[in-house]
Protein backbone atom coordinates (compact mmCIF):
# COMPACT_ATOMS: atom_id res chain seq x y z
CA UNK A 1 0.00 0.00 0.00
CA UNK A 2 1.26 3.42 -0.98
CA UNK A 3 0.34 5.36 2.14
CA UNK A 4 -2.30 5.50 4.83
CA UNK A 5 -5.66 7.14 4.42
CA UNK A 6 -6.71 10.30 6.16
CA UNK A 7 -10.15 11.53 7.18
CA UNK A 8 -10.19 13.40 3.89
CA UNK A 9 -10.21 10.11 1.97
CA UNK A 10 -12.72 8.55 4.35
CA UNK A 11 -15.17 11.42 3.96
CA UNK A 12 -14.90 11.14 0.18
CA UNK A 13 -15.55 7.41 0.35
CA UNK A 14 -18.54 7.86 2.64
CA UNK A 15 -20.07 10.44 0.32
CA UNK A 16 -19.54 8.21 -2.66
CA UNK A 17 -21.22 5.29 -0.90
CA UNK A 18 -24.02 7.58 0.11
CA UNK A 19 -24.65 8.79 -3.43
CA UNK A 20 -24.19 5.40 -5.08
CA UNK A 21 -22.71 6.93 -8.21
CA UNK A 22 -21.42 10.43 -8.97
CA UNK A 23 -20.45 12.25 -12.14
CA UNK A 24 -16.84 13.33 -12.53
CA UNK A 25 -17.48 17.04 -12.06
CA UNK A 26 -19.19 16.32 -8.77
CA UNK A 27 -16.38 13.98 -7.75
CA UNK A 28 -13.90 16.77 -8.37
CA UNK A 29 -15.97 19.17 -6.26
CA UNK A 30 -16.29 16.56 -3.53
CA UNK A 31 -12.52 15.99 -3.53
CA UNK A 32 -11.95 19.70 -3.09
CA UNK A 33 -14.54 19.93 -0.33
CA UNK A 34 -13.12 17.00 1.61
CA UNK A 35 -9.65 18.52 1.43
CA UNK A 36 -11.00 21.85 2.67
CA UNK A 37 -12.91 20.31 5.56
CA UNK A 38 -9.83 18.47 6.76
CA UNK A 39 -7.30 21.17 5.91
CA UNK A 40 -5.52 18.86 3.53
CA UNK A 41 -3.45 20.10 0.65
CA UNK A 42 -5.53 20.07 -2.51
CA UNK A 43 -4.20 19.69 -6.03
CA UNK A 44 -6.54 20.47 -8.88
CA UNK A 45 -5.76 17.44 -10.99
CA UNK A 46 -5.16 15.15 -8.07
CA UNK A 47 -8.48 13.29 -8.17
CA UNK A 48 -7.24 10.14 -9.87
CA UNK A 49 -4.25 9.81 -7.59
CA UNK A 50 -6.51 10.45 -4.59
CA UNK A 51 -8.84 7.67 -5.71
CA UNK A 52 -5.94 5.32 -6.48
CA UNK A 53 -4.81 5.59 -2.88
CA UNK A 54 -8.28 4.79 -1.57
CA UNK A 55 -8.46 1.86 -3.98
CA UNK A 56 -5.21 0.40 -2.71
CA UNK A 57 -6.91 0.13 0.68
CA UNK A 58 -10.16 -1.20 -0.77
CA UNK A 59 -8.45 -3.93 -2.76
CA UNK A 60 -8.05 -6.39 0.15
CA UNK A 61 -11.78 -5.93 0.74
CA UNK A 62 -12.59 -6.87 -2.85
CA UNK A 63 -13.99 -3.43 -3.53
CA UNK A 64 -12.90 -0.69 -5.91
CA UNK A 65 -13.92 2.79 -6.96
CA UNK A 66 -14.39 2.34 -10.66
CA UNK A 67 -14.98 4.91 -13.33
CA UNK A 68 -17.01 4.42 -16.44
CA UNK A 69 -18.55 6.43 -19.26
CA UNK A 70 -22.32 6.66 -19.37
CA UNK A 71 -24.14 5.31 -22.39
CA UNK A 72 -26.70 8.08 -21.96
CA UNK A 73 -24.68 11.26 -21.77
CA UNK A 74 -21.07 10.28 -22.47
CA UNK A 75 -19.93 11.71 -19.14
CA UNK A 76 -17.58 9.92 -16.78
CA UNK A 77 -18.99 8.51 -13.55
CA UNK A 78 -17.50 7.03 -10.39
CA UNK A 79 -19.02 4.28 -8.26
CA UNK A 80 -17.94 1.91 -5.51
CA UNK A 81 -18.07 -1.59 -6.95
CA UNK A 82 -17.91 -4.97 -5.28
CA UNK A 83 -15.34 -7.01 -7.16
CA UNK A 84 -16.16 -10.37 -5.62
CA UNK A 85 -19.78 -10.59 -6.60
CA UNK A 86 -20.86 -12.73 -9.47
CA UNK A 87 -24.49 -12.49 -8.54
CA UNK A 88 -26.77 -9.56 -7.98
CA UNK A 89 -26.42 -9.87 -4.24
CA UNK A 90 -26.07 -6.14 -3.83
CA UNK A 91 -29.77 -5.84 -4.55
CA UNK A 92 -30.89 -8.79 -2.44
CA UNK A 93 -31.40 -6.78 0.71
CA UNK A 94 -33.70 -4.32 -1.00
CA UNK A 95 -35.77 -6.50 -3.28
CA UNK A 96 -37.91 -9.61 -2.89
CA UNK A 97 -37.24 -12.84 -4.78
CA UNK A 98 -39.88 -12.29 -7.41
CA UNK A 99 -38.75 -8.67 -7.85
CA UNK A 100 -35.20 -9.86 -8.50
CA UNK A 101 -36.53 -12.41 -10.96
CA UNK A 102 -38.36 -9.69 -12.85
CA UNK A 103 -35.24 -7.53 -12.85
CA UNK A 104 -33.27 -10.41 -14.36
CA UNK A 105 -35.92 -10.85 -17.03
CA UNK A 106 -35.80 -7.14 -17.78
CA UNK A 107 -32.06 -7.49 -18.22
CA UNK A 108 -32.68 -10.42 -20.58
CA UNK A 109 -35.00 -8.25 -22.67
CA UNK A 110 -32.44 -5.47 -22.81
CA UNK A 111 -29.60 -7.78 -23.79
CA UNK A 112 -31.75 -9.48 -26.46
CA UNK A 113 -32.85 -6.20 -27.97
CA UNK A 114 -31.00 -4.38 -30.72
CA UNK A 115 -31.65 -1.00 -29.17
CA UNK A 116 -30.62 -1.87 -25.60
CA UNK A 117 -34.11 -0.89 -24.45
CA UNK A 118 -37.03 -2.84 -23.02
CA UNK A 119 -40.57 -1.56 -23.32
CA UNK A 120 -42.80 -1.46 -20.26
CA UNK A 121 -45.30 -3.61 -22.16
CA UNK A 122 -42.77 -6.40 -22.59
CA UNK A 123 -41.74 -6.15 -18.95
CA UNK A 124 -45.36 -6.35 -17.83
CA UNK A 125 -45.77 -9.50 -19.90
CA UNK A 126 -42.83 -11.03 -18.09
CA UNK A 127 -44.40 -10.22 -14.75
CA UNK A 128 -47.23 -12.51 -15.71
CA UNK A 129 -45.01 -15.56 -16.09
CA UNK A 130 -42.62 -15.43 -13.18
CA UNK A 131 -41.51 -18.69 -11.55
CA UNK A 132 -41.34 -17.29 -8.04
CA UNK A 133 -44.55 -15.36 -7.70
CA UNK A 134 -46.51 -13.51 -10.35
CA UNK A 135 -46.77 -9.75 -10.15
CA UNK A 136 -49.75 -7.64 -11.04
CA UNK A 137 -49.57 -4.59 -13.26
CA UNK A 138 -49.64 -2.11 -10.37
CA UNK A 139 -46.97 -4.03 -8.46
CA UNK A 140 -44.74 -4.13 -11.53
CA UNK A 141 -45.11 -0.42 -12.12
CA UNK A 142 -44.18 0.35 -8.52
CA UNK A 143 -41.19 -1.96 -8.77
CA UNK A 144 -39.98 -0.24 -11.92
CA UNK A 145 -40.30 3.13 -10.20
CA UNK A 146 -38.16 1.86 -7.32
CA UNK A 147 -35.57 0.42 -9.68
CA UNK A 148 -35.29 3.79 -11.39
CA UNK A 149 -35.16 5.64 -8.07
CA UNK A 150 -32.40 3.33 -6.82
CA UNK A 151 -30.53 3.93 -10.05
CA UNK A 152 -30.54 0.41 -11.45
CA UNK A 153 -32.61 1.36 -14.49
CA UNK A 154 -33.28 4.52 -16.48
CA UNK A 155 -36.63 5.24 -18.06
CA UNK A 156 -37.48 7.35 -21.07
CA UNK A 157 -40.74 7.38 -23.03
CA UNK A 158 -41.91 4.14 -21.48
CA UNK A 159 -38.71 2.29 -22.30
CA UNK A 160 -36.18 1.03 -19.80
CA UNK A 161 -32.40 0.88 -20.11
CA UNK A 162 -29.62 -0.29 -17.81
CA UNK A 163 -28.19 2.58 -15.79
CA UNK A 164 -24.49 3.38 -15.69
CA UNK A 165 -24.47 2.25 -12.08
CA UNK A 166 -26.05 -1.07 -13.00
CA UNK A 167 -23.58 -1.75 -15.79
CA UNK A 168 -20.65 -0.87 -13.54
CA UNK A 169 -21.76 -2.83 -10.49
CA UNK A 170 -22.94 -5.88 -12.36
CA UNK A 171 -20.25 -6.10 -15.00
CA UNK A 172 -18.99 -9.45 -13.75
CA UNK A 173 -22.49 -10.85 -13.37
CA UNK A 174 -23.43 -9.71 -16.87
CA UNK A 175 -20.32 -11.25 -18.38
CA UNK A 176 -20.86 -14.52 -16.56
CA UNK A 177 -24.52 -14.90 -17.41
CA UNK A 178 -24.67 -13.51 -20.93
CA UNK A 179 -21.16 -14.16 -22.22
CA UNK A 180 -21.17 -13.86 -26.01
CA UNK A 181 -24.62 -12.38 -26.15
CA UNK A 182 -23.32 -9.03 -24.91
CA UNK A 183 -21.38 -7.03 -27.47
CA UNK A 184 -18.53 -4.61 -27.02
CA UNK A 185 -18.30 -1.19 -28.62
CA UNK A 186 -16.01 -1.06 -31.67
CA UNK A 187 -14.54 2.24 -30.49
CA UNK A 188 -13.99 2.02 -26.72
CA UNK A 189 -14.24 -1.79 -26.38
CA UNK A 190 -16.46 -1.61 -23.35
CA UNK A 191 -19.71 -3.52 -23.05
CA UNK A 192 -22.50 -1.87 -25.00
CA UNK A 193 -26.29 -1.93 -24.70
CA UNK A 194 -27.68 1.27 -26.19
CA UNK A 195 -26.00 1.56 -29.53
CA UNK A 196 -25.96 2.24 -33.20
CA UNK A 197 -25.24 -0.77 -35.35
CA UNK A 198 -23.56 -1.08 -38.70
CA UNK A 199 -26.14 -1.74 -41.42
CA UNK A 200 -23.88 -4.16 -43.24
CA UNK A 201 -25.29 -7.58 -42.36
CA UNK A 202 -21.94 -9.32 -42.44
CA UNK A 203 -20.41 -6.70 -40.17
CA UNK A 204 -22.96 -5.70 -37.54
CA UNK A 205 -20.56 -3.94 -35.19
CA UNK A 206 -22.04 -1.74 -32.49
CA UNK A 207 -20.98 1.64 -31.12
CA UNK A 208 -22.13 3.62 -28.09
CA UNK A 209 -24.08 6.72 -29.01
CA UNK A 210 -21.51 9.03 -27.33
CA UNK A 211 -18.73 7.07 -29.10
CA UNK A 212 -20.50 7.61 -32.44
CA UNK A 213 -20.67 11.35 -31.72
CA UNK A 214 -16.96 11.53 -30.97
CA UNK A 215 -15.78 9.27 -33.79
CA UNK A 216 -17.80 10.85 -36.56
CA UNK A 217 -17.45 14.44 -35.41
CA UNK A 218 -17.06 16.77 -38.33
CA UNK A 219 -17.16 14.01 -40.93
CA UNK A 220 -19.53 14.57 -43.81
CA UNK A 221 -19.24 11.03 -45.10
CA UNK A 222 -19.40 8.68 -42.13
CA UNK A 223 -18.19 5.15 -42.70
CA UNK A 224 -18.12 2.08 -40.48
CA UNK A 225 -14.66 1.87 -38.87
CA UNK A 226 -14.49 -1.87 -39.53
CA UNK A 227 -16.04 -2.56 -42.94
CA UNK A 228 -16.22 0.99 -44.42
CA UNK A 229 -19.88 0.66 -45.33
CA UNK A 230 -21.87 3.88 -45.23
CA UNK A 231 -23.03 4.73 -41.73
CA UNK A 232 -26.68 5.57 -42.23
CA UNK A 233 -27.69 6.60 -38.73
CA UNK A 234 -28.05 10.13 -37.47
CA UNK A 235 -24.81 11.34 -35.93
CA UNK A 236 -25.62 12.99 -32.59
CA UNK A 237 -23.93 16.14 -31.33
CA UNK A 238 -21.23 15.69 -28.72
CA UNK A 239 -22.69 16.51 -25.37
CA UNK A 240 -21.06 19.55 -23.82
CA UNK A 241 -19.00 18.38 -20.86
CA UNK A 242 -19.50 21.70 -19.13
CA UNK A 243 -23.20 21.00 -18.83
CA UNK A 244 -24.75 20.77 -15.41
CA UNK A 245 -24.53 17.15 -14.31
CA UNK A 246 -27.61 15.00 -13.86
CA UNK A 247 -29.47 15.47 -10.58
CA UNK A 248 -28.31 12.87 -8.14
CA UNK A 249 -30.82 11.51 -5.72
CA UNK A 250 -30.04 9.47 -2.68
CA UNK A 251 -30.31 5.79 -3.44
CA UNK A 252 -31.45 4.54 -0.08
CA UNK A 253 -33.38 7.25 1.66
CA UNK A 254 -32.83 6.54 5.30
CA UNK A 255 -32.49 9.34 7.78
CA UNK A 256 -29.56 10.46 9.80
CA UNK A 257 -29.04 13.57 11.78
CA UNK A 258 -25.31 13.58 11.30
CA UNK A 259 -24.68 15.60 8.17
CA UNK A 260 -21.81 13.51 7.00
CA UNK A 261 -23.33 10.24 8.03
CA UNK A 262 -22.67 7.56 5.52
CA UNK A 263 -25.74 6.22 3.86
CA UNK A 264 -26.12 3.80 1.04
Amino acid sequence: MAGSLSDCHRRFLQSLMCNGIIVRSKAIALHRNCCEVHNTHYTRDGLDEFIDLINSHLEPLFMQIRKSVSEEDGLQYYALVNMAETDITRMSSDYADNELELFRKTMDLIVDSESGRASSTDILNCADSLNTRKMKKKETELLLTRLVRDKWLNEKHGEYTLSTRCIMEMEQYIQKIYQDMVKTCAICHNVVFQSQMCDNMSCGIKMHIPCVAKYFKGRSDPQCPVCNAFWPHEIPEIRDTAQVPLEMENTAPTPSTSHSRRRR
Binding site: L5, R11, S15, A84, S93, I177, Y178, Q179, M181, S258
Partner: protein, 259 residues
Protein backbone atom coordinates in the same frame (compact mmCIF):
# COMPACT_ATOMS: atom_id res chain seq x y z
CA UNK B 1 -25.66 -18.59 -34.62
CA UNK B 2 -26.20 -20.45 -31.38
CA UNK B 3 -26.49 -18.33 -28.32
CA UNK B 4 -25.68 -19.76 -24.97
CA UNK B 5 -26.88 -18.35 -21.76
CA UNK B 6 -26.13 -19.72 -18.33
CA UNK B 7 -29.34 -20.45 -16.52
CA UNK B 8 -30.19 -17.89 -13.87
CA UNK B 9 -31.23 -20.61 -11.48
CA UNK B 10 -27.66 -21.77 -11.32
CA UNK B 11 -26.48 -18.51 -9.87
CA UNK B 12 -24.98 -18.83 -6.42
CA UNK B 13 -28.02 -19.89 -4.39
CA UNK B 14 -28.46 -20.22 -0.67
CA UNK B 15 -25.30 -18.47 0.45
CA UNK B 16 -26.21 -15.09 -0.94
CA UNK B 17 -29.86 -15.32 0.07
CA UNK B 18 -29.19 -16.49 3.60
CA UNK B 19 -26.68 -13.75 4.13
CA UNK B 20 -29.49 -11.30 4.00
CA UNK B 21 -32.13 -13.18 5.93
CA UNK B 22 -32.32 -12.93 9.69
CA UNK B 23 -32.08 -16.23 11.49
CA UNK B 24 -32.58 -17.46 15.00
CA UNK B 25 -30.19 -16.49 17.76
CA UNK B 26 -27.17 -18.71 18.24
CA UNK B 27 -27.44 -19.08 21.99
CA UNK B 28 -24.64 -21.60 22.29
CA UNK B 29 -21.85 -19.21 21.28
CA UNK B 30 -19.49 -18.10 23.99
CA UNK B 31 -16.35 -16.14 23.36
CA UNK B 32 -13.32 -18.42 22.94
CA UNK B 33 -10.28 -18.24 25.21
CA UNK B 34 -7.12 -16.59 23.94
CA UNK B 35 -5.36 -19.93 23.54
CA UNK B 36 -8.24 -21.24 21.47
CA UNK B 37 -7.99 -18.14 19.36
CA UNK B 38 -4.28 -18.65 18.87
CA UNK B 39 -4.74 -22.28 17.85
CA UNK B 40 -7.49 -21.20 15.47
CA UNK B 41 -5.31 -18.51 13.91
CA UNK B 42 -2.48 -20.97 13.34
CA UNK B 43 -4.76 -23.25 11.37
CA UNK B 44 -5.70 -20.60 8.83
CA UNK B 45 -3.34 -18.78 6.54
CA UNK B 46 -3.25 -15.02 6.88
CA UNK B 47 -4.79 -14.74 3.42
CA UNK B 48 -7.74 -16.84 4.56
CA UNK B 49 -8.18 -14.71 7.65
CA UNK B 50 -8.09 -11.55 5.55
CA UNK B 51 -10.68 -13.07 3.26
CA UNK B 52 -12.98 -13.68 6.20
CA UNK B 53 -12.44 -10.11 7.39
CA UNK B 54 -13.39 -8.82 3.93
CA UNK B 55 -16.53 -10.96 3.93
CA UNK B 56 -17.62 -9.72 7.35
CA UNK B 57 -17.04 -6.11 6.29
CA UNK B 58 -19.20 -6.59 3.23
CA UNK B 59 -21.87 -8.43 5.18
CA UNK B 60 -22.11 -5.60 7.68
CA UNK B 61 -22.17 -2.92 4.98
CA UNK B 62 -25.04 -4.66 3.18
CA UNK B 63 -26.99 -5.24 6.38
CA UNK B 64 -26.42 -1.70 7.52
CA UNK B 65 -28.15 -0.40 4.40
CA UNK B 66 -31.42 -1.24 6.07
CA UNK B 67 -30.36 0.62 9.22
CA UNK B 68 -31.44 -2.32 11.36
CA UNK B 69 -28.91 -3.46 13.99
CA UNK B 70 -26.68 -6.36 12.97
CA UNK B 71 -26.72 -9.35 15.27
CA UNK B 72 -23.51 -11.11 16.24
CA UNK B 73 -25.31 -14.41 15.75
CA UNK B 74 -25.96 -13.55 12.10
CA UNK B 75 -22.34 -12.63 11.48
CA UNK B 76 -21.21 -15.96 12.91
CA UNK B 77 -23.83 -18.07 11.24
CA UNK B 78 -23.57 -16.56 7.78
CA UNK B 79 -19.96 -15.52 7.42
CA UNK B 80 -17.62 -16.83 10.07
CA UNK B 81 -19.26 -20.25 10.26
CA UNK B 82 -16.77 -22.96 11.24
CA UNK B 83 -14.10 -20.41 12.10
CA UNK B 84 -15.96 -19.13 15.12
CA UNK B 85 -13.01 -19.82 17.38
CA UNK B 86 -11.19 -16.88 15.85
CA UNK B 87 -14.20 -14.63 15.94
CA UNK B 88 -12.53 -12.08 18.29
CA UNK B 89 -9.48 -11.76 16.07
CA UNK B 90 -11.59 -11.33 12.94
CA UNK B 91 -13.77 -8.71 14.63
CA UNK B 92 -10.71 -6.82 15.81
CA UNK B 93 -9.51 -6.55 12.24
CA UNK B 94 -13.03 -5.72 11.05
CA UNK B 95 -13.22 -2.84 13.51
CA UNK B 96 -9.85 -1.57 12.41
CA UNK B 97 -10.85 -1.77 8.77
CA UNK B 98 -14.02 0.22 9.34
CA UNK B 99 -12.12 2.92 11.16
CA UNK B 100 -9.08 3.12 8.92
CA UNK B 101 -10.73 2.78 5.54
CA UNK B 102 -14.28 4.07 5.93
CA UNK B 103 -14.12 6.31 8.97
CA UNK B 104 -16.91 4.29 10.56
CA UNK B 105 -17.24 2.65 13.92
CA UNK B 106 -18.96 -0.56 14.87
CA UNK B 107 -20.83 0.15 18.08
CA UNK B 108 -22.43 -2.53 20.20
CA UNK B 109 -25.76 -1.02 21.12
CA UNK B 110 -27.24 -4.13 22.68
CA UNK B 111 -24.74 -5.73 25.02
CA UNK B 112 -27.11 -8.46 26.11
CA UNK B 113 -28.17 -9.66 22.67
CA UNK B 114 -24.97 -8.61 20.95
CA UNK B 115 -26.20 -6.31 18.22
CA UNK B 116 -24.18 -3.66 16.41
CA UNK B 117 -24.73 -0.57 14.36
CA UNK B 118 -22.33 1.28 12.11
CA UNK B 119 -21.77 4.82 13.23
CA UNK B 120 -19.92 7.68 11.62
CA UNK B 121 -16.52 8.17 13.17
CA UNK B 122 -15.69 11.34 11.30
CA UNK B 123 -16.13 14.78 12.74
CA UNK B 124 -19.60 16.06 12.06
CA UNK B 125 -19.78 18.94 9.63
CA UNK B 126 -22.46 21.47 10.35
CA UNK B 127 -21.99 23.28 7.08
CA UNK B 128 -24.19 21.20 4.87
CA UNK B 129 -22.59 22.37 1.65
CA UNK B 130 -19.22 21.09 2.72
CA UNK B 131 -20.51 17.63 3.46
CA UNK B 132 -21.98 17.19 -0.05
CA UNK B 133 -24.47 14.59 1.05
CA UNK B 134 -27.98 14.78 -0.25
CA UNK B 135 -30.13 15.52 2.77
CA UNK B 136 -33.27 13.48 2.70
CA UNK B 137 -36.31 15.29 4.06
CA UNK B 138 -36.75 12.52 6.63
CA UNK B 139 -33.44 13.60 8.16
CA UNK B 140 -34.76 17.08 8.77
CA UNK B 141 -37.94 15.75 10.30
CA UNK B 142 -36.07 13.41 12.59
CA UNK B 143 -33.74 16.19 13.64
CA UNK B 144 -36.68 18.36 14.67
CA UNK B 145 -38.20 15.56 16.74
CA UNK B 146 -34.91 14.74 18.42
CA UNK B 147 -34.50 18.43 19.26
CA UNK B 148 -37.93 18.61 20.83
CA UNK B 149 -37.30 15.52 22.92
CA UNK B 150 -33.90 16.74 24.03
CA UNK B 151 -35.02 20.26 24.91
CA UNK B 152 -37.90 18.87 26.95
CA UNK B 153 -35.66 16.72 29.09
CA UNK B 154 -35.38 13.42 27.24
CA UNK B 155 -38.93 12.13 27.05
CA UNK B 156 -42.08 13.67 25.64
CA UNK B 157 -45.67 12.55 25.40
CA UNK B 158 -46.61 11.67 21.86
CA UNK B 159 -49.20 14.44 21.79
CA UNK B 160 -46.39 17.00 22.04
CA UNK B 161 -44.66 15.53 19.01
CA UNK B 162 -47.86 15.40 16.96
CA UNK B 163 -48.59 19.04 17.82
CA UNK B 164 -45.10 20.14 16.89
CA UNK B 165 -45.46 18.44 13.55
CA UNK B 166 -48.84 20.01 12.95
CA UNK B 167 -47.23 23.42 13.43
CA UNK B 168 -44.83 22.44 10.66
CA UNK B 169 -47.83 21.49 8.55
CA UNK B 170 -47.07 17.80 8.82
CA UNK B 171 -50.30 16.28 10.04
CA UNK B 172 -49.91 12.71 11.30
CA UNK B 173 -53.58 12.10 10.64
CA UNK B 174 -53.25 12.74 6.92
CA UNK B 175 -51.08 11.16 4.29
CA UNK B 176 -48.15 13.52 3.69
CA UNK B 177 -46.91 14.14 0.19
CA UNK B 178 -43.27 13.57 1.10
CA UNK B 179 -43.38 11.38 4.20
CA UNK B 180 -46.45 9.27 3.52
CA UNK B 181 -47.85 7.78 6.69
CA UNK B 182 -46.16 10.07 9.19
CA UNK B 183 -47.39 8.20 12.25
CA UNK B 184 -45.94 4.96 10.88
CA UNK B 185 -42.68 6.69 10.00
CA UNK B 186 -42.18 7.82 13.57
CA UNK B 187 -43.57 4.90 15.51
CA UNK B 188 -42.37 2.13 13.23
CA UNK B 189 -39.55 3.03 10.84
CA UNK B 190 -37.59 5.39 13.09
CA UNK B 191 -38.08 3.01 16.02
CA UNK B 192 -36.85 -0.02 14.07
CA UNK B 193 -33.82 1.94 13.00
CA UNK B 194 -33.20 2.81 16.64
CA UNK B 195 -33.44 6.55 16.17
CA UNK B 196 -36.47 6.80 18.43
CA UNK B 197 -38.10 4.86 21.20
CA UNK B 198 -41.87 4.77 21.42
CA UNK B 199 -42.95 3.38 24.75
CA UNK B 200 -46.28 2.98 26.40
CA UNK B 201 -46.81 5.10 29.50
CA UNK B 202 -48.08 2.74 32.21
CA UNK B 203 -51.47 3.20 33.79
CA UNK B 204 -52.84 5.33 30.99
CA UNK B 205 -56.21 4.61 29.56
CA UNK B 206 -56.70 5.18 26.66
CA UNK B 207 -53.05 4.13 26.25
CA UNK B 208 -50.61 6.97 25.77
CA UNK B 209 -47.05 6.71 24.57
CA UNK B 210 -43.93 8.74 24.94
CA UNK B 211 -41.01 9.32 22.61
CA UNK B 212 -37.39 9.09 23.64
CA UNK B 213 -34.09 9.05 21.84
CA UNK B 214 -33.18 5.63 20.46
CA UNK B 215 -29.79 3.98 20.87
CA UNK B 216 -28.66 4.95 17.39
CA UNK B 217 -29.50 8.60 18.00
CA UNK B 218 -27.50 8.44 21.25
CA UNK B 219 -24.48 7.12 19.36
CA UNK B 220 -24.69 9.27 16.27
CA UNK B 221 -26.09 12.63 17.22
CA UNK B 222 -24.01 15.22 18.98
CA UNK B 223 -26.18 16.89 21.58
CA UNK B 224 -23.86 19.88 21.59
CA UNK B 225 -24.44 20.43 17.88
CA UNK B 226 -28.14 20.02 18.36
CA UNK B 227 -28.23 22.56 21.17
CA UNK B 228 -26.15 24.97 19.09
CA UNK B 229 -28.69 24.60 16.31
CA UNK B 230 -31.62 25.32 18.63
CA UNK B 231 -29.75 28.24 20.18
CA UNK B 232 -29.16 29.72 16.74
CA UNK B 233 -32.87 29.50 15.99
CA UNK B 234 -33.62 31.53 19.11
CA UNK B 235 -30.64 33.84 18.54
CA UNK B 236 -29.29 33.05 21.98
CA UNK B 237 -26.30 31.24 23.43
CA UNK B 238 -26.48 27.49 24.23
CA UNK B 239 -25.69 28.31 27.85
CA UNK B 240 -29.15 29.86 28.15
CA UNK B 241 -30.42 26.35 28.70
CA UNK B 242 -28.15 25.24 31.57
CA UNK B 243 -29.70 21.82 32.07
CA UNK B 244 -29.50 20.90 28.40
CA UNK B 245 -26.05 22.45 28.12
CA UNK B 246 -24.77 20.28 30.97
CA UNK B 247 -26.42 17.20 29.50
CA UNK B 248 -24.89 17.92 26.09
CA UNK B 249 -21.34 18.43 27.29
CA UNK B 250 -21.46 15.37 29.57
CA UNK B 251 -22.92 13.19 26.84
CA UNK B 252 -20.35 14.26 24.26
CA UNK B 253 -17.51 13.77 26.72
CA UNK B 254 -18.78 10.27 27.39
CA UNK B 255 -18.90 9.32 23.72
CA UNK B 256 -15.44 10.69 22.98
CA UNK B 257 -14.10 8.65 25.90
CA UNK B 258 -15.66 5.51 24.53
CA UNK B 259 -14.02 5.92 21.10
Amino acid sequence: MSQRRVSHSQSRPSASRQVIEDDEEDLSFTLPSSSQVQRGMDRLTSAEVDRKVAEVVQFILIKDQKKVPIKRADIIKNVIKENRNIYPEIMKKVNMTFEKVFGLKLVEIDVKNHAFILVNNLEQVTDRLASMNPAHPKTGLLFVILSVIFMKGGAVKEAVVWNTLKKLRVDPGERHEEFGDVKKLLTDEFVRQKYLEYARIPHTDPPEHEFRWGLRAESEVSKTRLLEFVAQLHEKEPQNWPKQYKEATTSDARSSQAS
